[in-house]
Symmetry: C2
Subunit: 232 residues, 2 copies
DNA sequence: GTCAAGGTAATTGTCGACAATCGACATCCG
DNA sequence: CGGATGTCGATTGTCGACAATTACCTTGAC
């Protein structure tokens, strides 16, 4: 028999590839490498002190999450975003997340999810008070939405969300600020939580569509003005 | 200046990796390697007369399309499907494709898409008459649905569809037959086409939800009985 | 001065080899 | 005889090197 309450949990043995991928993703999202920039396998491999093989595999991983684009015989490049692409992205998010939240309320484990949602909302307020760490704010926001997809009960929604999460982060970081008021941003998640707690499917979908929709408007507008300011 | 309408399009120079990936995907979907089977890099590389590197990259590609599962330090395995997973898959397809068809009718280029839909429906009838080539039927079916996602105007829907297309094919092939009557299957696409042509957004979403929903029911039921017949 | 052609440097594509890790069998102890 | 431990073969993980392709720069003609 096995110990029902083991003293040691399974050790996360993420290999070299995952670590490299994480480093690259962070460098891109944090803006240390600019969109459109070439990602030289040799250079990155040399910098990290590893061979090209893991770098190449990591880059392919990042390609799936939309951060990187691959062109045959040319290499990997940091994904460039347009306001139109961001608009499409947000439209897609609305579809995914409203379906996820509807399923969550209808058939998911709301009881188990609520404390996690509350904790995440608390985290949102915490980083809002700190105020200056943009990346933390973005990630706290995305973590909240990820919880909803995770709690839906259909892993497809979570997979779809994870695929576009990094790209969304990149877009938000490019804009340079999340909302006019970080506090208001944190508070805008509360109605979603309330509708879930009330098992109000229609209200929940409406709340999240409103939430993402206003973010979509804000992001697209702001990005468009950036494009005009810095014409390619 | 360049020829605005070149006589020769860009030649698809799919490298070794893509060819290997295609071969592997076909072998899996066609059922030549069974679900759960190990995909030995060395063996495949030796069989194809190439090194392990392209095989490994191809396997990672197939992982993204859901055909293959990767376990660190253990290798690649053909994805196993359960009736529950298939049910989740079809639920997700309904969400994606009904959103895509709604956008298509509302803002897509219906005029340009209609002839392609008609051609695909004709192809569906053609393979239905042939009758015995299951893979062809499955692929003709998926191609029709892909057209809708492609015509939606938001490439996100197409990307999401392509990611789950191979997995859907695999599920259908595992079942061993598409519908009771291939002819009826072909005909069941006509109402979708009609609603699109009429620019009836509500009717189109209803038609495609009905279409995929009945397939979902059929597939899930049939797969469940298979599971009971061959208990793991 | 502009454009095309050729050569060259740099990068990716592929390969074979070695090291690390895993699963299974044999072995040892209670 | 049951369970834990040690060992072995096989497979993946990573590496450095060579071949193929690309992009850039130089050269030359008009």
């Amino acid at each position: 028999m096995h110990d029902p309450d083991p003293a040691f949990g399974p050790l996360a043995r993420d290999g070299l590839v995952d670590r490299v991928a994480g480093l690259m993703a962070e460098a891109i999202v944090a803006g240390r490498v600019l969109p459109g920039a070439r990602l030289s396998e040799s250079t990155i491999a040399r910098d990290l002190g590893v061979s090209r093989a893991p770098v190449r595999e990591a880059a392919r991983l990042l390609e799936n999450s939309g951060l990187v684009r691959y062109r045959p015989n040319r290499g990997f490049f940091v994904r460039t975003l347009s306001s139109a692409a961001l608009d499409n992205l947000y439209e897609f998010r609305i579809v995914i997340e409203s379906a996820a939240i509807a399923r969550l309320v209808a058939r998911g484990d709301v009881e188990a999810l609520l404390p996690r949602l509350d904790a995440q909302i608390a985290e949102l307020y915490r980083v809002a008070e700190a105020g200056d760490d943009m990346l933390r704010q973005v990630e706290a926001d995305m973590a909240f939405h990820r919880l909803i997809c995770e709690g839906s009960g259909n892993p497809r929604y979570l997979a779809a969300f994870d695929q576009i999460a990094n790209e969304t982060k990149l877009g938000l970081m490019l804009i340079g600020r999340l909302y006019d008021s970080p506090r208001r941003m944190a508070g805008s998640h509360v109605p979603i939580r309330a509708a879930i707690a009330a098992r109000d499917a229609q209200g929940a979908t409406a709340a999240i569509e409103d939430h993402i929709g206003s973010a979509r408007h804000m992001v697209t507008e702001r990005f468009r003005s950036l494009e005009e300011g810095h014409p390619a």
